[in-house]
Symmetry: D2
Subunit: 352 residues, 4 copies
Amino acid sequence: MSGSSLGKLFTVSNFGESHGKAIGCVIDGCPAGMSLTESDIQQELDRRKPGTSRHVTQRQEPDTVKILSGIYEGKTTGTPIALLIENQDQRSKDYNNITQSFRPGHADFTYWHKFGIRDPRGGGRSSARLTAPTVAAGAVAKKWLKEQYGIQIRGYMSQLGPIHIPFKQWEDVPTNPFFAPNAEIVPELERYMDALRKEGDSIGARIEVVAENVPIGLGEPIYDRLDADIAYVMMGLNAVKGVSIGAGFESIAQKGSEHGDEITPEGFLSNHAGGILGGISSGQDITVSLAIKPTSSIRIERRSINTDNEPVMVQTLGRHDPCVGIRATPIAEALLALVLIDHILIQRAYQT
Amino acid sequence: MSGSSLGKLFTVSNFGESHGKAIGCVIDGCPAGMSLTESDIQQELDRRKPGTSRHVTQRQEPDTVKILSGIYEGKTTGTPIALLIENQDQRSKDYNNITQSFRPGHADFTYWHKFGIRDPRGGGRSSARLTAPTVAAGAVAKKWLKEQYGIQIRGYMSQLGPIHIPFKQWEDVPTNPFFAPNAEIVPELERYMDALRKEGDSIGARIEVVAENVPIGLGEPIYDRLDADIAYVMMGLNAVKGVSIGAGFESIAQKGSEHGDEITPEGFLSNHAGGILGGISSGQDITVSLAIKPTSSIRIERRSINTDNEPVMVQTLGRHDPCVGIRATPIAEALLALVLIDHILIQRAYQT
Amino acid sequence: MSGSSLGKLFTVSNFGESHGKAIGCVIDGCPAGMSLTESDIQQELDRRKPGTSRHVTQRQEPDTVKILSGIYEGKTTGTPIALLIENQDQRSKDYNNITQSFRPGHADFTYWHKFGIRDPRGGGRSSARLTAPTVAAGAVAKKWLKEQYGIQIRGYMSQLGPIHIPFKQWEDVPTNPFFAPNAEIVPELERYMDALRKEGDSIGARIEVVAENVPIGLGEPIYDRLDADIAYVMMGLNAVKGVSIGAGFESIAQKGSEHGDEITPEGFLSNHAGGILGGISSGQDITVSLAIKPTSSIRIERRSINTDNEPVMVQTLGRHDPCVGIRATPIAEALLALVLIDHILIQRAYQT
Amino acid sequence: MSGSSLGKLFTVSNFGESHGKAIGCVIDGCPAGMSLTESDIQQELDRRKPGTSRHVTQRQEPDTVKILSGIYEGKTTGTPIALLIENQDQRSKDYNNITQSFRPGHADFTYWHKFGIRDPRGGGRSSARLTAPTVAAGAVAKKWLKEQYGIQIRGYMSQLGPIHIPFKQWEDVPTNPFFAPNAEIVPELERYMDALRKEGDSIGARIEVVAENVPIGLGEPIYDRLDADIAYVMMGLNAVKGVSIGAGFESIAQKGSEHGDEITPEGFLSNHAGGILGGISSGQDITVSLAIKPTSSIRIERRSINTDNEPVMVQTLGRHDPCVGIRATPIAEALLALVLIDHILIQRAYQT
């Protein structure tokens, strides 16, 4: 059951559990010679960390990252970069009552059957907390992509439950805890979340990620395509149930004369392809959408069973994000960065 | 630029171009001792092959598969199974006029920039013809999954352009060229396609795939998740722009109290999860949806450029599927089979 | 039981059995734009093929290679190159008598226990015949290494059983069937082999392989080292029981003041390292030695058991190489080429 | 430049430098449900650790291992096990004088050229210190192999420079710092080492490793063979220049009638094969030999160059093992354990 690594040349190996001693990752294959400090990584972790608004989990985790290896005199040496985040705020007792029951919609059930043992503290390894090492590794990738290729990767929330969020401007994204690209709609989002929290319920969301200045030619024709790899990392993010690129599910009802992006000497006239043709990047912006399901851990009582297959009612107290989508934007950005750096390194192997 | 292989234990390595000598694949890691004949594979290839109705490409390809290795006295030996499909109907001349131009929506542009050379005959390696080896490998996987675990993998078309196709019964699927699970709607689909063909345009479609009797526990917690691997293979299928599992994009507007599937001693009460919780199979049916874009090769003239970056008008004659989604169902089934067999073999490694 | 592929970026997937329809391989990851014809590959296959002298197996196999894909207008397209060698001279009847017995020293025993089924015709997949696809893939690698980097890879026999073969000159190697770098010793080798053939016995050999003009910097510090990868491919060659690099087993009795190669501004003063320091190429010639065991298939009767664990006497008739080492030189060269091209491509990914 | 991971199902990802903050590894794919404590791992680390006799480096490193993840209530959970060893005794100043020069026989030269930057402190990542995480991971593998299959993996020194060490009994191995299986010869080894240390020179050694009770059937026919994987890990161990299995280089002068191990219903009559036939384990003991070169870091002055390609004399002070072979035995055992566990897990995937 290995399978905790991502990437072919730039690989990230993830480890840890929500309430174990530490979480972290090993980045292997980062090019030598790039300046890298812990604060380069910390700033991305801070965008994802819990406890930053009343709309996310109140667990207090500074998520302070330590670089254990791979840096000498402030520069990457080309050898593995181990990143460590020690867990601080461990309240295992909150979880004792649900150890023997399976929360509906949660990984409890599948972990139990798969491993025959599971660490119930905070969901163990199934916790969204394990996205922190991904964000940390993504920060390294993002920095390199920016410095070497001018690639910019940004994301935003485009829908919170029933509320569509019209894109206004990128500048609004960092001004609110939702990563909404439209400051005017934020009060509505806050009212919605406040009501939801009172109900003890949770809600889904939709996230968009965009990569600009991507070189042409990333991805292979069959199987190791760029779109396939993007779908892989995004669908693998906790709570994601759908991934689309470019026109996505809108393509179904489009005709070829509408969908196919016309080209002029000055460039493409539209971007239904989302920057990928035949599995290979076209140089247009790469645009990806994620459908994120509502958090499974809710206060509302639900029917379930325990490990003896007896019926039980399950109510999840503890501290949980009522909308896991709210903190998903920086993670999705990190995942896209990890896919791109890997494909760019592979492309370099074949350039003359 | 390796990257033409799929799978960790049960691997498939794909080769060939649309109008080269042959296409095929090598299956490595198939368990020994299974009866396997060419006709086991041929029957799946026949479901995908061109020329079977007026709604698909009229290229005449029998797609006859030959097993070159890995079988002794009618049984798999546990060594690589090489499958060969010789190309018959090669009409390279149809493509000469587009060699130097890029068809909008097509991989011409990206292949040219990536490799600096491309085989223009029938789209070369970017042709949907290269899904035939995938279907052939999937036939082997399907047979093993059925015999060893009783797993059944079936698919159908749920939408053709603007026309939603309500699910009636599985029995209807093989009775029409659309893989529509509803024979009554077929005349409407045919009328739609006939009109489209006259226009010289193309259209998108939506395909559903379902796997039944899947063991609990397939997939790893982080990165090598079952949902991630499914998204990977499906998004990597030609023309796919979106993949969803279970409730998919509907999850965005769902509340946790609605989305999370309740459990009773008799089983789950719903399947919004699509059979996967925390990236791991739950034993419920795995349900996957694909959004397929309209074919890029259309008769309608479109603006584009040539390899000298000069404006040109491109009109694609030749023989093309006006809706690539029509033949996508058996391919999607094959891809799901390939993901499942790989994860089942990995699971077996850890069972006691 | 996948595991028939070699390489990370330039991968080779091998298939086939000694007396099946065909043997071959798929090369994935070959750079685009290189001229490549079947005769480029055939000339290397001809160096390895059987029946070229009375000292090797008399099986008549032209080993004619066909390129099925990956070439357009005489050039590699960057997509998979499938190579096919059809088997011609299949004399399965020679093997019928040994189907149920295990030849001492042979893979019969382990295949039987591993797979529960085995193709007994000519050793099935355990036959040295399966090195032909490796040689074919190596020919492609060699051509690229020569054209792009001026790398030359050559090998020779340095010992035939008890007879040491002093290196005289490279020019002698192609003049005799032993790949001996010393024409004067050839009559002695022939006399030895003639006597051995009369006895019905077989003998071991030692092969040396040298790569010149190798770039500095190939290989990773830990695990994916260049020396490790060389040892991997060489020990994986049929009948190899030992691999050494540079001073090899002589290093045991050397002092550091003798072994460590001193360096001057003009270069290294010796090459005990065999061109690799800390797992990474140093730019010196890479020198590798292989110890090859005697062929297991001999006419002399030997004690063994059958599949019912009953004692039997086994005598192998058929057509066999009395010294598998004689044809090993071109295979070892091919393997070294495959390792080098893979590491060079990886190195290019990181160069600036 | 990824490449710091080992294994397909049971993978080990290594990180760290000799004088960085910490070294360690992530084990991914360890089966769930095995009892595992830090002391299980510590006892193997203690066999390898420095400073245990006057014949090895005097660096004081307790090499205390911490388990950061993957264990819950004393048992493995099937998720990644991160192991951390903090560096204590960092004397970077000893190395300052050699930062700009290349020690003959050392990886300084190749790291410099490969990465353009190197951590000179204690050899950075090229230090034999980085074998500690391998030993730690190997301890986990060894425990599982012992408990699940009764496999025992043991090693010993068979030669120290010119002194052959006749095997007497396993019981003697832990009684002396050389891992010599013959207590009587230890005084001679000590005198030899004392003299060598006075000279400021170093010496090579030969190590044998044996695995007993190995299941039949491990390894694949072509490329992923068991012998190939053993050669890979062993040649990848610092300072190893040769690897052989069974009769090894003795096979060259053996005839087939001598080398091929005869079989009776009671078992094999000899073990020239070293437990591997056709790349697959035969159930006999697996026997492996390693040729280890003398340490490159010696007090005797040697000719070299600096990073400006100017001639310099290099003398290495600091604290070094005069014979790296002395501490190699537990590392070689660990490496063999890691290869075996990986192949056993793969075998399990195919067993019925």
